[in-house]
């Protein structure tokens, strides 16, 4: 979330699309109700199902699963056509006026630079027009047309791109009745007023698509056109999954990133210099903060946190020890490699991939090729018994599976001390209440003991490259049991030598051995260490700030700056400089986040701006981009700088209605599809119904099936279908049905409901089948089928998050 849970109460309009906060995040959803009650805010829900969020909405519009970009692109077109945008904001705080390379093209559904064999784009033409480099300084800036009239400026290209997204076209592709679509547009457009804000609450309903990242990008375009970023009650708010899903994302347990979203070195980064230079951007406009120019400080401090005295300027701060990646290592790529027999050992730490990853058969077959599997979990997961025959729910022959499986009991939240980071980026410390059952151990102790055993083996017997293992910093009082406190102090950052004020080299701002106050004190000379720069300062000399529990809210905005610690720098609303006009005056003084006092930025949040940057210095609010402004045109995306509607990989249509003549533009042209997976995508003639998967208010993923009360509340697997489809197929409420995709089947009880409307798509009646995901063969619920037996093995082109929300099935009475 750019904003936070309580801030939802400050909105004038709440849009819920790609999520269902009332059921998936009930205690956060209360802030929507608060906004409705106290601010008379309106709630709009757009969803394939009439969800419980929809039930309390002021307006509900149905939409076909997998057509969100068509809907949102239509909103962009509406705002531009009706001139319902926040002009000053768009002109100053976005790249609307930036001139784009004249060779950039969008033709017949494809952007310039497409390579159909490799299924990717060469992005050379997606750049900005630059001024000639200054002879003396070498500086070169993006050319800008402040009038936004140049046909090659981002604003004009945006207009042109979305002019095709007319209300009729939107309705044809999404199935949303035209009047309903226009009503939503009208409500959204009202927040173009400088003192009105909309918040968007989305979740996996937007991310779990082959165009997931672009769903969100389209909304980001809308929120910047309306001037809603940085405002109280505004922003782009991802309502995320687990209690610490944000924190684990920040720690970047992902091959392609180091902690704090530092891109991992690749094979092309032959030495530290090459690596650092490539990732340290130069400002694209004069006077901008270009905050990522601090990259060398973040990276060097990380290497110092990991390798201490063994990382020096003499050995490139141990750059050589870091593994260099040679390609994709996301979950789908990992299971593909495993399926090909290229992975021998595997650890599942609190993760149940047999249930959570696409195409259960493929995942099970892949696990069976491992030499050893280690499951670390508080619960007996389905994955831990992938080898065991559970009848039709898991048809395998244990005698033919040679994988050695270890199952290690881990403590759960109640038995552990440490920090969680909520969706609003607030890091909160929690305390252990009791020991876990039997011989269970904390995750930290398990990992640390395993590591100590490995280290002892390398010390005794040697082996391949022992140096990074032997030199890994481990300043823990009990080496097999590091404490969360020791680790959070390491994450937050320390002065290794005295740290000096850059403006006055004689002034020490942090003495050797002290905890640093924040990432601004990090250095690239080896004098500081920091395990994750964005968490910098969460444990300062003042102590553990994540353990703060003062819920005072003097501004009434719900900022509670003394409760826990929000990253970055305890800032609760990021981009908050954009909540003020160029002169530093809040767009809405009643909801002042920060303002320019005449000498500094101050107010009800930590300013997202250099504190002394006077407005006439023209330092723009989006400090993390080298442009200083938000990107309407975003060249970094895999499938194009403007989001385009592509059909899901399994679509009820045989053409993309936007590009009926170009089969290459039917699905996301830049999505990665493995051999063998493309072949098992189903076709509409065999699998005519759109299927979408989701969660219920009584269950959490695949955990609560192990909790008695939740198992009692929702004991048995079911699927939901609309009344019209039920009539067509002769299915009555309560019948057992079999749902098939081209990858397998599940059986469940049918719930016939008005909640799933039949939609008219491209002149054709289209039915949707809805499947809650929570069942499996282990648990206290009645045994059920793993829903991901049905889902296709393809992900978003940028993040590789699997397409669970839109695929094809057939259904019949079992």
């Amino acid at each position: 979330m750019t904003n936070h849970w309580v801030d939802i109460k400050n909105a004038d309009l709440v849009l819920i699309m790609g999520g269902n906060a009332a059921e998936a995040h009930p205690c956060g959803f209360k802030w929507v109700i608060e906004a409705k009650k106290d601010r008379k805010a309106k709630l709009v829900t757009v969803d394939p199902r009439f969800t419980r969020s929809a039930a309390v909405s002021d307006f509900y519009a149905p939409v076909r699963a997998g057509s969100d970009i068509a809907f949102l692109g239509g909103v962009v077109n509406y705002l531009l056509e009706k001139d319902k945008i926040h002009h000053d904001y768009v002109k100053n705080y976005t790249n609307a006026g930036f001139l784009i390379n004249p060779d950039y093209k969008f033709e017949d559904g494809l952007f310039s630079g497409y390579n159909p064999e490799k299924r990717n784009y060469a992005k050379a033409t997606w750049g900005y027009q630059m001024t000639e480099a200054d002879k003396k300084t070498g500086e070169s800036w993006v050319k800008v047309d402040p009038t936004l009239q140049d046909p090659n400026c981002a604003f004009q290209l945006l207009k042109k791109h979305y002019s095709r997204y007319t209300p009729d076209m939107v309705s044809k592709v999404t199935g949303t009745p035209k009047e309903a679509f226009l009503k939503v547009c009208e409500m959204i457009a009202e927040t173009a007023a400088a003192d009105k804000t909309m918040t968007i609450l989305y979740a996996l309903g937007w991310t779990q698509h082959s165009v997931g990242s672009q769903n969100i990008r389209t909304m980001a375009i809308i929120q910047t056109l309306l001037g809603n970023m940085g405002m109280a009650g505004g922003g782009i708010n991802a309502l995320r999954g687990h209690a610490n899903v944000q924190g684990i994302t920040d720690m970047c347990l992902f091959g392609a990133n180091l902690p704090g979203y530092i891109a991992s070195p690749t094979e092309a980064d032959v030495d530290r210099k090459t690596y650092v230079e490539k990732r340290t951007p130069k400002a694209l406009r004069p006077g901008q903060m270009n905050f990522a120019q601090n990259f060398p400080k973040w990276f060097t401090s990380l290497q110092k946190a990991w390798y201490g005295n063994a990382a020096t300027d003499k050995n490139d701060f141990a750059y050589e020890w870091l593994p260099k990646i040679d390609g994709a290592y996301d979950t789908l790529a990992i299971f593909e490699k495993m399926h090909q027999g290229k992975i021998n050992g595997f650890v599942c730490q609190g993760f149940n991939p047999l249930a959570s990853v696409s195409n259960k058969k493929k995942v099970g077959d892949a696990l069976a090729k491992l030499k050893y599997l280690v499951v670390i979990d508080p619960l007996a997961t389905d994955t831990s018994e992938f080898w065991k025959n559970h009848g039709e729910f898991n048809e395998v022959d244990a005698s033919k599976i040679a994988t050695e499986v270890f199952r290690l009991p881990a403590d759960c939240f109640a038995e552990d001390t440490g920090s969680f980071t909520n969706s609003g980026r607030v890091i909160q410390w929690h305390w252990k209440a009791a020991d876990g059952p039997g011989e269970s151990k904390g995750d930290i102790e398990i990992i640390a003991t395993l590591f100590q055993k490995l280290k002892a083996m390398y010390a005794k017997d040697g082996g391949k490259l022992p140096d990074p293992i032997m030199n890994l910093t481990w300043a823990h009082r009990i080496p097999t049991k590091p404490s969360s406190a020791e680790l959070l102090m390491e994450i937050s950052g320390k002065a290794l030598g005295d740290v000096f004020d850059p403006k006055d080299k004689t002034k020490v701002i942090a003495k050797a051995g002290e905890q640093l106050a924040g990432f601004a004190q990090l250095r690239d000379d080896g004098s500081t260490s920091c395990g994750n720069w964005i968490y910098g300062g969460c444990w300062s000399q003042a102590g553990n700030l994540t353990a703060r529990r003062d819920n005072a809210d003097p501004s009434g905005l719900g900022q509670t700056l003394l409760w826990g610690f929000a990253w970055p720098a305890n800032r609760r609303i990021i981009y908050n400089r954009a909540s003020c006009d160029l002169a530093g005056k809040p767009w809405d003084p009643k909801r002042t986040v920060i303002r320019w006092t005449g000498t500094a930025w101050a107010g009800n949040d930590i300013p997202d701006m250099r504190p002394d940057a006077a407005p006439d210095e023209n330092v723009m609010p989006f400090i993390m981009t080298p442009e200083g402004v938000a990107r309407l045109f975003a060249p970094g995306m895999a499938e194009g700088p403007f989001p385009e509607h592509y059909e899901p990989f399994e679509t009820p249509l045989d053409k993309n209605p936007f590009h009926p003549g170009n089969p290459k533009a039917l699905n996301n042209p830049a999505a990665r599809v493995y051999k063998g997976d493309m072949e098992v995508f189903g076709k509409a003639k065999d699998f005519p119904y759109v299927c979408t998967t989701y969660r219920l208010v009584e269950h959490f993923h695949f955990w609560t099936k192990h909790a008695k009360i939740n198992a009692v509340l929702q004991p048995e697997q079911f699927v939901e279908i609309g009344e019209e489809l039920a009539r067509e197929k002769g299915i009555a409420n309560g019948d057992r049905v079999k749902v098939r995709s081209n990858r397998g089947f599940i059986k469940a009880v049918a719930v016939v409901t008005k909640r799933i409307p039949t939609l008219m798509i491209d002149g054709k009646k289209t039915h949707t089948v809805g499947i809650p995901i929570h069942w499996g063969f282990k648990g206290l619920t009645k045994p059920g089928f793993i829903t991901n037996t049905l889902t296709p093995y393809v992900g978003d082109a940028n993040s590789q998050t699997p397409e669970f929300k839109a695929f094809l099935v057939n259904i019949e009475k079992a």
Binding site: K30, Y329, F351, D416, F420, W431, P437
Partner: protein
């Protein structure tokens, strides 16, 4: 003075507060049907957080015992933390069932191994389990570690080992797991957070 419980409340109702009446020496004789004493009154309260969705609701966990050495803490009740600014004491149907998650009969209690081709679990000690796992890892790492690629560039990676990380674990667990994985040269790892 003999005062029944009912009479005692009558006296209090006449205008004096109960506590001052008691101070003056009047107290009711024990009632036949006394209100049950509040069961959490003597429990230890610990601040924690619901592990389910990313609202990360504050919870209060109540355990028996007072954390003294001989009193083994047992979790008897979990409820919303009213001080938490986000959930303000509330919990949803998922969070309200947390006690049943902590106490689930499906909690794992000791390390187990399923040998290749076997159809059952076998209990083993922690030391055996972690030693066997470490031996597997070292053998695989030493056999498949790539120090240089075909172009002669130092790449130092171990591509045949994979790891999926929990997004319900603490930040500190995530950080330590990442640090250990990179030191081994692991690259094939991802998290539930990105699915």
């Amino acid at each position: 003075m003999q005062v029944s419980r009912r009479q005692f409340f009558k006296i209090c109702g006449a205008g004096l507060s109960g506590s001052s009446i008691a101070l003056m020496g009047y107290s009711p004789t024990s009632a036949l049907a006394e209100v049950r004493s509040y069961k959490l009154a003597h429990a230890t309260e610990t601040r924690n957080m619901c592990p389910y969705c990313s609202v990360s609701c504050g919870v209060l966990i109540y355990t028996t015992g007072d954390k003294s050495k001989n009193a083994k803490a047992d979790i008897i009740h979990i409820e919303g933390d009213p001080d938490n600014p986000v959930n303000r004491g509330t919990l949803c149907p998922k969070g309200a069932g947390l006690l049943d998650m902590v106490k689930s009969p499906n909690r794992l209690k000791f390390p187990e191994v399923r040998e290749p081709g076997s159809n059952e679990w076998k209990r083993i000690s922690w030391d055996d389990a972690l030693t066997r796992i470490a031996k597997h890892m070292k053998a695989d790492r030493d056999a498949n570690f790539i120090e240089k690629n075909a172009a002669g560039v130092t790449v130092n990676r171990w591509p045949t080992f994979g790891f999926l990380a929990s997004s319900a674990a603490n930040n500190e667990t995530g950080y330590l797991s990442h640090k250990v994985l990179r030191s081994l040269g692991a690259v094939a790892f991802d998290t539930q957070a990105r699915i």
